[in-house]
Symmetry: C2
């Protein structure tokens, strides 16, 4: 039994994805659980514990034999203490909760916690589509639109709140964003905002198959798979909302590139990964009219690690800490 | 006679500002010339040579006794060779010209050339309003809107084209920018774009005193002073255009801060310096609804070095090179 196995936890607003990796970043075991929608932080922690135990079982190991557990979490993360604050996509998590400590107490192993988008960007930079570059912008297109910045091969976090590409303004006095502000990229491209808009237009009488597809799949929310299926069926409303999203992504990502002149943009996240390569090309095309450095536009790649990037980035946190 | 005196040249689209500094960055002599509007790069170089000689005369020295000459120039600058390319605000300067070499040949002293916005940001960071910080965004509001980024106390240039905050998109499918793109911050806030819009609305029959003030001052363009005077007289059209500009600046600067989470924003440039502290407060107020890091919004300061920041930053180039 190796003690170099590490579990990576990708804690999202809809699901908890756990994978156990060996030294070579190969997946030995995996599990996926829905994120609890009721209760509070300790319920989320309990769900993580179950998911970690299951992934370990598949990997034929036990949690307390792991070299450590890494967690990528939404919200503001104090990486030293493992405390997570203001994770607004998680239930009743407005305040602070010692997620790292809860997992340490449970399993008695090293636990490292980082911001979900930051660790996913890091994974893409180290092991994914960002490997050939020294400077990248990671764009994670899912419920929200998250961003990660790597400059001179090092992550740039500012004072802890950098990378909020989803809250760059693409239209002054524009659409209301779930964050409460106006005209943010996320107001047009976030899956949450897109769903709210689809529900409203549907309630106002517009035809769409989005909700039929959702129900048929036993879902209560418009998941990335539901959007993909609707696009495949050439659903008009879904097509229009995706067009708006891609237009906003093009402008917002190009704006970030005009400010930073990074070598490459990596597109990930639930929608990004689901839509895949053709969508990366569409986003690149929408960026083009706005990119200032026309002689050297940034390369645009789909995330190389797919759905597992978050879990792998979380595992890297433990490796960095010497696990 | 000291050999530690350095001349700094701020080469702008409308004027050439030269100052001779001593070791303590004190101004010993100064001169200002209009930038030639006809001819080409060598005519601009000739005008710089005259301005340098005059500033030296006022400083009671001679150009060939200087420790060196630093130049901040628009366009793409090859700092090693001193070659300037694609300076679209300078006459017939689409191609490349060896500006550094021309000045070296003329005066026989060390010459260092850098990008105008980059050197002005550097000067504010080292000696101006940016001194207390490790990370700043410099915003130079003039004919265009230029930006400079300092992270971890070092300038970030990307692959040479970073800092183009004026070409961040604040309105998808928005107003035509002088750069040819649509919806850029500069399309709303650049003095060039504002003048074009004022001329059009005036020609269409709207009342404004902007052009009367301009003529009275013997100008052919709406300078920063003309705008300031019109605002002072509560000219309606001027007020509306400035309102639009400030709204766009607020959104664009906040977007940049949401991406980078810098500690401070420094507002300079012809219009920024002319309008002064009250305008810095207005811009800060327009940023507020868009700033994501509400717990720690960036500090917003007026440039501390005023009009001389560009020349001082250019002089610092020579100091850095050991001059």
């Amino acid at each position: 039994m190796s003690t170099r196995q590490v579990a990576g936890v990708d804690l999202g607003g809809t699901k908890i994805e756990v994978a156990v990796f060996d030294d070579e970043h190969e997946v030995l075991g995996q599990s996926r659980h829905p994120t609890p929608v009721d209760g509070g932080p300790s319920d989320v922690a309990a769900a993580i514990m179950i998911a970690v135990a299951q992934a370990c079982e598949e990997a034929k190991t036990k949690p307390d034999d792991l070299a450590g557990i890494g967690v990528g979490s939404p919200g503001v993360v104090d990486t030293l203490s493992g405390t997570v604050s203001g994770a607004r996509n998680l239930p009743s998590w407005e305040g602070s909760f010692g997620l790292g400590q809860a997992l340490r107490d449970k399993f008695g192993v090293a636990v490292a916690v980082g911001n979900d988008v930051a660790v996913a960007t890091d994974a893409e930079f180290e092991l994914g589509a960002g490997r050939p570059y020294q400077s990248i912008l990671g764009v994670f297109w899912g419920t929200g639109v998250g961003g990660g910045v790597v400059l001179e091969s090092r992550p740039w976090h500012g004072r802890g709140a950098a990378g909020e590409i989803g809250h760059m303004v693409v239209r002054v006095n524009g659409r209301q964003c779930p964050c409460g502000r106006k005209g943010c990229l996320e107001a047009y491209a976030g899956r949450g905002a897109m769903e709210a808009r689809a529900r409203k237009r549907h309630a106002d009488g517009e035809h769409t198959d989005l909700f039929k597809i959702m129900e048929k799949r036993g879902r209560t929310r418009l998941t990335s798979a539901v959007w993909a299926k609707a696009l495949e069926q050439e659903d008009k409303l879904a097509g229009e909302l995706i067009d708006e999203a891609v237009e906003a992504l093009g402008a917002g990502i190009a704006s970030a590139c005009n400010l930073l002149d990074v070598e490459a943009v990596i597109i990930g996240g639930g929608l990004g990964v689901r839509f895949g390569e053709p969508m990366a090309r569409r986003i690149e095309k929408e960026m083009a009219p706005h990119v200032f450095n026309t002689e050297h536009p940034p390369d645009v790649h789909l995330a190389g690690l797919g759905d597992l990037g978050g879990a792998l980035g979380a595992a890297l946190l433990v490796r960095r800490a010497g696990g």
